[in-house]
Symmetry: C2
Subunit: 498 residues, 2 copies
């Protein structure tokens, strides 16, 4: 395993990178990729050496250009290949001679279009020389810390009007790693996470998986100190046994959320024609994931929602959820979805009910507020009421997790309820997720404020319930394998340090 970690590490933190097929022509992938590295070097983010290789150019972006990798008078450990498929074998021969350890083949035109023979030729050269190959036909790697950025999708695009707009943003640094078979999905994920201000540690897209597998990347990420949560998109998993073995090692330490598409027969057929892989029965995937603690998302939105919950909050040790709200209707939606997810929304204990009654007598919450579960603070809600009510839920030992539905529309509620709830949550170890509904200024402000203070906020009550369910399901798995306390402790330590 350790040698695999070392091998994979070269893709993310190389000492010297050669971009083979670097280009001066702005529309070329070889231009975008080389420029990514140059810019990250200027930012002092990318600290390794950088060499453009292209027999037709003298210099590119101010860097002296080499006709072949063999002309570089220095050791190179990582090569990025962006040349037409048919000359990749020749390039690989030179790379092998040069003693390069890791190669990302971005170029397409291999098994995905039926050119199996060409792909086999390339992998045979690599195998003989002990080179690890990512791809071909992939987006490669993006690392927010080391500045490795092989994405040939430019950060901005120029519209027909002449305006330049953000098209494929690179997210800020953060705890989420993305491991994806599909490049297009990967790009969309980066765009989504950037817009939602969610940070990414590492990104890797596999394409044809001619050599390096998802399982090897998962094994590597287990040891990556920057990665806390792994979002894993797959259309097929080739070596099930290897995957199960690796996942079993990773999940007690870091949650893996999987979006495995091709659930339906028609979807599996589409997956087969997309990457040429046979997907196998969907039920087998579900039960395999469950067995090794991989959390399966049902769709794209849930995939990100689960990742957000697990990145922001600790796992939950039981299924009893309390909901506090100022909006009766959305409160019911959250209950419905909690129940659909297998969580319990029980009536509170007599002690907790008595505490709410006391608050009413003291005039601290409205006397007609509901103190069942959900607690409904009604339209007369204030920030103080959210604080006082949530405190009681934190103190109740029977409650495992809390959902705060703070719809900002009610007249007397001020935005500081977010800060009050977040401040309170620091005194307890209980997990909290939040929700505000709306798509204009104040709703966006409330959700982003919650996020900033470490409480994941969602745009619908059902999404919040799904986020909570991810925390509970992961907690249940950790308990089952006796790792809850250890994970919980390391999570809290990390949280307190940040």
């Amino acid at each position: 395993m350790d040698s695999i970690v070392e091998q994979m590490h070269t893709f993310f933190e190389p000492k010297a990178v050669a971009v083979i097929g670097a280009s001066r022509r702005t529309m070329k992938a070889g231009h975008v990729i080389f420029k990514n590295f140059v810019i990250n070097k200027q930012r002092n983010l990318f600290k390794a050496k950088l060499y453009p290789v292209n027999p037709n150019e003298k210099t590119i972006q101010g860097f002296p250009c080499y006709p072949s990798i063999l002309d570089i008078n220095d050791e190179v450990d990582l090569a990025v290949i962006v040349v037409p498929a048919k000359i990749v074998p020749k390039v690989m021969q030179e790379i092998a001679k040069k003693g390069v350890k890791a190669v990302a083949i971005i170029s397409s035109g291999f098994s995905e279009v039926g050119n199996h023979k060409l792909e086999e030729e390339v992998t045979a050269i690599a195998k003989k020389a002990g080179i690890r190959v990512l791809g071909p036909n992939c987006l490669g790697v993006y690392d927010s810390k080391t500045g490795v950025d092989m994405l040939f999708l430019p950060e901005t695009k120029t519209l027909i009007t002449g305006d330049e707009v953000v098209a494929t943003p690179r997210p800020m640094a953060g705890p989420i790693a993305i491991v994806t078979q599909s490049g297009a999905f990967g790009a969309a994920a980066l765009d989504y996470l950037s817009g939602k201000q969610m940070g990414v540690s590492k990104f890797v897209s596999f394409g044809n998986k001619a050599d390096v597998t998802a399982s090897e990347m998962l094994a590597y990420l287990l040891h990556d100190p920057k990665t806390q949560v792994i979002l894993f998109y797959a259309e097929s998993i080739d070596n099930g046994r290897e995957f199960m073995e690796v996942a079993r090692k990773v999940t007690p330490k870091k949650p893996i959320v999987a979006l495995k598409v091709g659930r339906s027969e028609a979807g599996a057929r589409a997956a087969a024609s997309h990457t040429g892989s046979i997907a196998g029965s969907d039920k087998i995937y579900s039960s395999a994931f469950k067995q090794v603690g991989v959390l399966r998302a049902n769709d794209l939105e849930e995939f990100f929602d689960m990742g957000k919950a697990l990145a922001f909050q600790p796992p939950v040790a039981g299924k009893n959820v309390a909901i506090i709200t100022d909006a009766g209707g959305p409160g019911i939606m959250a209950v419905d979805e909690c129940v659909a997810q297998g969580l319990n929304v029980k009536k509170f204990s007599e002690e907790t009910i008595a505490k709410f009654e006391k608050l009413k007598q003291e005039g601290k919450i409205p006397r007609f507020a509901t103190n069942l579960n959900p607690v409904d603070l009604t339209g007369s809600v204030t920030s103080e009421m959210f604080e006082e009510g949530t405190r009681i839920l934190f103190e109740d030992p029977e409650i495992d997790g809390i959902i705060v539905l703070g719809l900002h529309h009610l007249p007397a509620l001020q935005e500081d309820f977010v800060d009050r709830v977040a401040e309170l949550s620091k005194k307890y170890t209980k997990s909290v997720v939040a929700c505000d509904v709306g798509e204009t200024e104040m709703a966006l402000h409330i959700r982003s404020r919650f996020d900033k203070l470490g409480i994941p906020a969602y745009f619908s009550p059902e999404d919040a319930a799904r986020g909570m369910a991810a925390l509970v399901n992961y907690g249940m798995y950790l308990k089952k394998c006796g790792q809850f306390d250890q994970y919980f402790e390391s999570f809290m330590k990390r949280k307190n340090m940040s």
Copy 2:
């Protein structure tokens, strides 16, 4: 029925409105509501007469103030009550004496807090005088055309920092009516629809439903020329027979999308404590909705997504869906969700496949593009390819609806593919929905451009599939009751006029 329509009409298009409890004090609901009317009068949107009633003031916002409604020397057909619950009976007596036809009681403090007797007293006065009552304990009415706006939730809020932000926006005028039991949910819906640039015709929130029922409002909206799609939120439906009868009349003319919460036992219990109503078995609701063609949404997001599809596109006459994409992975997600929704994603006919093969031979789409279903134009996609590929799908008589997944990230795709697809769609009557994934500039631009051109765009492939499913399910119902052609024709006529 006609008399009910006339009665309900007064709530939306009164000739003279008295706001009883209008106030100069900015924190009061009576201030916000009266100010809404004044502002809409200044905008020349609200054209009816307006009278503030408050015995403690001489003028409010420049309007002479009346001690009692009886002091107004003019006919008044609509009264909005915003005084403390305990004086509502006295106010109602005066209203009855004045001969007012319709009253919205915004005030709370009635059956929702156990004051059944007070509520009964008020409704008895109304009944005796032939007054129709909306509420009590409700948000009342918002009409984008007549400027009636009883919402006491201010459009903007001032943050602690002193910044003023949009808090409860009023959406622009448009085809969607919102009928909601919960006020808080209603406010959230307005916020959501505003942010998503979706237009609203009428909004009505019921509260305790002491008199006017949801069924009466649905009956009214059937005859409202501004309303094309009805979004209906309910925690309970009191008179099932009446509802079924009305819905059966409405749904062949206008789709009703229902979000009925309290599906789970715990949710139903919460609903009961929220509005005091007994929800009944959830399965009964599902089968009743199905029987009368009401489309049921599973959660908040689907509720709006379905409404958007039905507002933008005509119903679909069959279950065969074609998907065209530049992103294999998201294409598979769309297939999976289509199948889960009961739609067919079949292999194309030989003729259609031959057309795609011809495009390949002509070099108009990549030779390694997939022409099964989904059509995958691959990462080499251009705007022309989307146009040419989609044209073939429009021409195939076996295909009922089309999903366009245009992920903008791919390098050679320009934003004009949106205009090309929209232009093409005008030549055919087939329904189209679209999707682009991402939350930064270009994704937001692509989705909003699709929306503007009448093609509903979604942020995930699954949401797009759910939108298409709403069009298909509504189409199936219309066919079942022999109303498809008639609805389709009137939809297309409306679309061509706008």
